[in-house]
């Protein structure tokens, strides 16, 4: 187990390193020259250019620049926003909480619901329920998240007026304690519902196919042949083996989840990373955009690492591989 964790941590570090290098390459390859931007369009003074290049270390060879970039970034310094003149890390810190709240809630609900629905569909293969749920899963798998968000606003906010269509909490009512939590939950309902509907198909599909696969394994057939109670076989052996892939999918779908959350947040004016991303795009605030990409990638790498360790704990076959 120890060796497995060490290997996984090393590969996680490699991932983060690759992301940093990618970021560096993208800045270097991008059109435009930061020094001439700083100097102004008509200023061609070579002495000033040399001084600025010296100041920002741009006269050093590429590998040295890369190492410098990596060491600054490792200390948590991702530069400052070009628009707000605030450190990028501070701006992300302010927004990350709301995104984690929405993302994690939706991921957990959809993982549980999707897996259960998939298991039931596999148990009743060929039934009306299986047909309907499999068809719905095909549909929601193809829906753009932001479009679904707009449709839910039309139905639940505009027509029925059940849920608020934007924001994190009611700005006018100063709720405290439990009332505040209920208020946030009410605002979170539609964004969360959008994400759950989008994420369920992934879990549904994997749970259904793994139940079907495990049910066909030889050891299950043997147990059935010995006359063991079918319900007991399912609870004790099929179910346990079949929910394992859902754990892996939880990690793998992280990137997909973050993309969806970002777009959905924008529709619902949820004060998270999505809003930050949109304003950064509109104002071409590159340091912030890079920061968003870095933080998203690192979060994915960390979640994948945790999920892999949990998986290895649950399934000894992985540990001793």
């Amino acid at each position: 187990m120890k060796r497995f964790i060490i290997r996984r941590v090393l590969s996680g570090i490699l991932t983060v390193l690759i992301v940093f290098v990618l970021n560096f390459v993208i800045i270097k390859a991008a059109p435009g020259d930061p020094i001439s931007t700083l100097m102004g369009k008509d200023n061609k003074d070579p002495a000033m250019r040399a001084a600025l290049e010296e100041k920002y270390g741009l006269n050093k060879p590429m590998p040295v620049q890369l190492v410098n970039y990596l060491t600054t970034a490792m200390t948590g310094d991702l530069g400052s926003s070009m628009i707000y003149n605030k450190p990028v890390t501070t701006m992300i810190e302010e927004k990350l909480g709301a995104t984690v709240l929405l993302g994690l809630t939706s991921a957990l609900i959809s993982a549980i619901l999707g897996t259960l629905m998939g298991i039931v569909a596999a148990r009743r293969e060929g039934s009306v329920y299986d047909f309907v749920s499999s068809g719905t899963q095909y549909f929601f798998n193809s829906v753009p998240s932001f479009w679904l968000a707009l449709m839910l606003i039309i139905i639940f906010s505009s027509k029925l007026n059940w849920f608020p269509s934007f924001g994190y909490s009611d700005a006018r009512a100063n709720y405290e304690g439990m009332a505040h939590i209920m208020d946030v939950a009410k605002h979170m309902f539609l964004p969360c519902l959008t994400m759950v509907l989008i994420l369920i198909p992934t879990y549904f599909r994997i749970a259904k196919s793994s139940v079907l696969q495990v049910s066909n394994e030889d050891f299950i057939t043997t147990m059935k042949a010995t006359g063991m109670d079918e319900g007991k076989i399912f609870r004790k052996y099929v179910f346990r083996n079949a929910i394992l892939p859902s754990v892996t999918i939880f990690g793998i779908s992280m990137a997909y989840l973050l993309t969806g959350v970002t777009l959905v947040e924008i529709v619902f004016a949820w004060p998270g990373m999505g809003r930050l991303t949109l304003t950064a795009i509109n104002q071409r605030d590159y340091p912030t955009l890079m920061g968003v990409y870095l933080v998203m990638s690192i979060s994915v790498a960390v979640v994948m690492l945790i999920v892999d360790v949990i998986y290895a704990y649950l399934d000894p076959r992985i540990r001793y591989d």
Partner: protein, 283 residues
């Protein structure tokens, strides 16, 4: 795959799998819409007419008009061209890169394979959408850039599949005898490994087309689409401010996008069933 691809065989294969049949019919409809767009459209989608914000059916505009006076129905018809272009070009790029990188890693093996596999795994789990977004924001949002960047970031899953194929193919007798006959490694890779192992990549690429369409729509929704073309994502984005007063502006382009994504998804699923010998044996 030893049967000949006669029309009868193709017909029987397509009608034999529900998903493949549905996907094929959908694809034919899409291709017809793309070719017959000038006939099907009632107006010029690029024409900013005097009727702005028309209701559905008003002044002969089947799905109304947007705030610029463009006919929504005609825009949806022409938007199919953009979506299919994005899907096909980016999928081809990712398929070619994936096949070569995966083929080289699996067939040559050794340290090269170790490095490539690790890189593939890293890229598979990274949030590619944010990378695409960053590149498009920096390098400009022309449709060409969007297609190339989607293609360049989506190859890892293809490479993974191709690598697994190359790993098993290189141990097969016909490849070994080719080695014994003195054919070079490159010849073997091009003549035997890639043609015989490319099938899983075909179905994966078809499914990847769905992803490419959704990615383009997502970029357009963030305001990173090409402003000079008509795309469904941009139409949804443009209709967003009017969502409570004119719901059809965003709703119908979205439905068109869902239909297209679904078609490629079903097609990929169906191809996977037909091309994977394990699956057909199970039935």
């Amino acid at each position: 795959m030893n049967k000949k691809l006669t029309p009868k065989f193709i017909w029987e294969t397509i009608t034999g799998d529900k998903q493949l049949l549905a996907g094929t019919i959908g694809a034919i409809i899409l291709i017809l819409v793309v070719i017959l767009a000038p006939v099907l459209a009632t107006d010029d989608p690029y024409y900013f007419g005097p009727d702005s914000m028309n209701l559905m059916g008003e002044n002969g505009h089947i799905l109304g008009t947007n705030h610029m006076g463009q006919d929504v129905y005609s825009m949806i018809i022409y938007g199919a061209r953009t979506s299919l272009k994005v899907a096909i070009v980016s999928a081809l790029i990712s398929a070619i890169i994936g096949v070569f990188i995966g083929g080289i890693a699996g067939y040559f093996g050794g340290k090269l394979d170790l490095i490539i596999s690790e890189v593939i795994n890293v890229f598979l789990m990274l949030p590619t959408f944010f990378l695409i977004m960053l590149i498009i924001a920096l390098f400009g949002n022309s449709l060409m850039n969007v297609m190339i960047v989607i293609g360049l970031t989506n190859w890892p899953s293809n490479a993974k599949l191709m690598r697994a194929q190359a790993l098993s193919l290189r141990e097969r007798t016909f490849v070994r005898s080719a080695t014994a006959m003195g054919e070079t490694k490159w010849q073997i890779l091009m003549k035997y490994i890639i043609p015989n192992g490319v099938f899983p990549v075909v179905s994966n690429t078809t499914m990847g087309m769905s992803g490419a369409i959704l990615t383009e729509a997502g970029l357009s929704f963030l305001g990173l689409g090409d402003p000079n073309i008509i795309s469904w994502g941009q139409m949804i984005y443009a209709g967003k401010p009017y969502i409570t007063s004119a719901w059809w502006l965003s709703t119908f382009p979205g439905l068109a996008a869902i239909f297209t994504v679904l078609v490629f998804y079903l097609l990929g699923d169906g191809l996977n069933h037909v091309l994977d010998p394990k699956y057909s044996k199970k039935r």
